[in-house]
């Protein structure tokens, strides 16, 4: 095996290279096939399942669609789900962006430490991270105990099972997804640009908003996409920290598919989630392309 491989460049190297160039798309074949088999086919199955009226999947029709979209409650659920994603994106940007700026100015050794700290949460299971937040946010949790011992509050605050608590914990849980693309783009920025901007008399703020932010836009948009998609579908965090009074689409899908067994309705809810999240993502990436086109064009 290794002999043929080693010999290849000498004998048929040229033709091999030509072959590769001509048929480069074939390299994408394994992934493409996997994509069709594991993603497109199930999605079609989902669409097919949604086109049945009854939970036994025997009566074809649009009954499940009519049922789902005939209920104003479900509109609220879809809106709440998207809004949760927007809120999480906003907080991760507000906290993550300054952190990325700090990262740029750190010496390399400290940068490595920071990267490790950022990646650390990803090494823990989401279940563990979520339960840790119960310990922090709970009635007898760290925050309440601290505030009570400082005399700031007399009765424990209700943080768990509120949207505020959920957004706080999702911000921490999703933060790596914002920071990693952001940092990888920002660290490629030419440091001379900042000096040039300063030399031309721009204040630090002006440099930030007219040079750094526009140039980091691709990373920012990628981070927003990831955080949005991940937080709108974070079933465990949503249900464990948010409780079941805050109803988002993943909870609805879980109930319909695994508790009530109404798969057509679950399929409709799933497709609503896919479509609504994808349309926000499409809008975001359009924004991202526009801004980078603006930069280079």
């Amino acid at each position: 095996m290794s002999i043929t491989l080693a010999a290849a460049p000498e004998t048929g190297g040229g033709s091999l290279r030509r072959l590769l160039r001509a048929e480069e798309w074939q390299l994408a074949l394994p992934l493409g096939l996997a994509f069709v088999a594991l993603f497109v086919a199930p999605l079609l199955l989902l669409v097919g399942t949604s086109l049945f009226d009854d939970d036994k999947i025997t009566q074809p029709g649009f009954g499940s669609w009519a049922k789902f979209f005939g209920d104003p409650f479900n509109y609220k659920v879809v809106a709440d789900t998207l809004l949760l994603g927007v809120k999480t994106v906003c907080t991760t940007v507000l906290i993550g962006y300054p952190l990325a700026l700090v990262y740029l100015d750190l010496p390399t050794r400290l940068q490595k430490v920071l990267i490790f700290i950022i990646v650390l949460p990803l090494l823990l299971s989401v279940v563990v991270r979520t339960f840790a937040w119960i310990v922090v946010l709970g009635r007898e949790g760290m925050i309440n105990q601290l505030l009570q011992s400082l005399g700031v509050i007399s009765e424990p605050l209700r943080l768990l099972q509120t949207e505020l608590g959920l957004v706080i914990s999702l911000t921490q849980i999703e933060m790596p997804l914002m920071l990693l693309p952001l940092i990888s783009v920002m660290s490629r920025l030419d440091p001379n640009l900042r000096d040039a901007s300063a030399a031309l008399g721009a204040s630090r703020w002006r440099t930030l908003f007219t040079v750094i932010v526009p140039l980091s836009m691709p990373g920012l948009v990628a981070g927003c996409l990831l955080v949005f998609a991940s937080s709108t579908t974070a079933f465990i965090s949503q249900t464990v920290i948010g409780g079941v009074r805050l109803i988002y689409l993943p909870l609805l899908i879980w109930q319909q598919s695994l508790v009530v067994y109404n798969w057509p309705l679950a399929a409709v809810a799933s497709l609503s989630l896919v479509v609504s999240v994808l349309s926000v993502i499409a809008a975001l990436s359009w924004l991202g392309r526009r801004s980078s086109g603006h930069l280079h064009g």
Partner: protein, 343 residues
């Protein structure tokens, strides 16, 4: 400059190590393996501690436990269409009926069990075998609250502002909400009075969560009173948590727990060996002990004094609900719970 930690080589090495691990033969030296479901929490702990090693020792079978609530098991089995993700189910009465209707159980033959005669009459049928009973009532933290007397207490102070609520996803949740409804004029098939009363006090209720989250919320002091089964109370108590079980004045709810062999399994013989062991005197006796406190089905087991039920003959003193009537209504109840409880 920065992200050397993510170079291709180390990523590839990590990924292939992970991938390689999953290719390792599973239980290559054991005679057989079996995947059985169990309920998360006390059942899982008891079965892991007692039954798994015993089955390995006696029959050389590797038992893999999949912790899932009853309804989830049915959902997964239905989703897998003929290739069951597990070989043996553990179910409550409601999901059992759904399972029988859906034809997802292998026809059960009690004659294949050496311990069949040790069980009361009627505990083995065509669909499966009864392995225990569960008692559902109220659990509270005695350090923080006086003992509640009945279901109605849950909706008044001091209990309501410490109440942890769960919906109709589980048997214990459904059973409790039905009992609560009965206190306000409802019935087995009418839970509307419970919704009306819950809605009045909703802002005060400490937590509304998924069933699996409740023990954690209780442990963290997020709620100090909830409805649950005796095994959960026993397990939490075993972990040093302040918790006591109360039989409500109107009676605690009791129901049988049954096990079934999945249709299409290739491990039928091992499944029978497992079930035979589960109802054996040694296993049943070990599981009656603290902290598990299971109610045994084997007639030879001598009952310890601290069980909620002294023997299964006492089932008649408990509230037993007819799940054939409950099942058709549950989907609508779950939807209603979403809407009524939503913020």
């Amino acid at each position: 400059m920065t992200m050397q930690s993510f170079n291709r080589r180390s990523l590839l090495a990590g990924a292939s190590a992970l991938g390689g691990a999953s290719l390792m033969p599973r239980g290559a030296f054991a005679k057989g393996s079996l995947v059985a479901t169990t309920y998360p929490g006390s059942w899982e702990e008891a079965y892991r501690a007692i039954v798994v090693p015993a089955l390995k020792k006696k029959e050389d079978i590797d038992l893999e436990l999949a912790p899932l609530f009853a309804m989830d098991q049915i959902g997964k089995a239905k989703a897998s269409r003929g290739a069951p993700p597990f070989d043996v189910f553990i179910l409550d009465p409601g999901p059992r009926i759904v399972g029988i209707e859906g034809g997802i159980f292998e026809k059960f033959d009690g004659k294949k069990l050496s311990n069949a005669a040790k069980l009361p009459a009627g505990f083995i049928d065509d669909s499966g075998i009864c392995v225990g009973a569960q008692v559902v009532g109220i659990a509270y933290n005695p350090k923080k609250l006086p003992a509640p007397k009945g279901w109605k207490d849950l909706l008044v102070e001091p209990y309501v502002s410490r109440l942890g609520l769960t919906g109709f996803q589980t048997t214990f949740g459904t059973a409790s909400l039905i009992e609560l409804s009965k206190q306000f004029g409802g019935s087995l098939t009418n839970v509307d009075p419970a919704f009306v009363e819950l809605k009045k006090v909703l802002p005060k209720i400490a937590a509304v969560g998924l069933p699996a989250a409740m023990p954690g919320l209780f442990q963290q002091g997020q709620c100090d009173v909830m409805y649950t089964n005796t095994q959960t109370v026993a397990t939490l108590k075993g972990k040093g948590i302040d918790i006591e079980f109360v039989k409500p004045e109107s009676g605690a709810v009791a129901f049988y727990t049954t096990m079934h062999i999945a249709k299409g399994t290739t491990e039928t013989a091992n499944a029978y060996k497992y079930l035979d062991l589960v109802v054996s005197k040694e296993m049943q006796e070990a599981m009656t002990k603290s902290p598990y406190n299971f109610i045994p089905v084997n007639k030879d087991v001598v009952l310890p004094p601290d069980l909620p039920m002294k023997s299964l003959d006492e089932m008649s003193k408990y509230v037993v609900q007819d799940w054939a009537q409950i099942n058709p209504l549950r989907a609508a109840w779950i939807e209603k719970f979403n809407k009524e409880m939503a913020k």
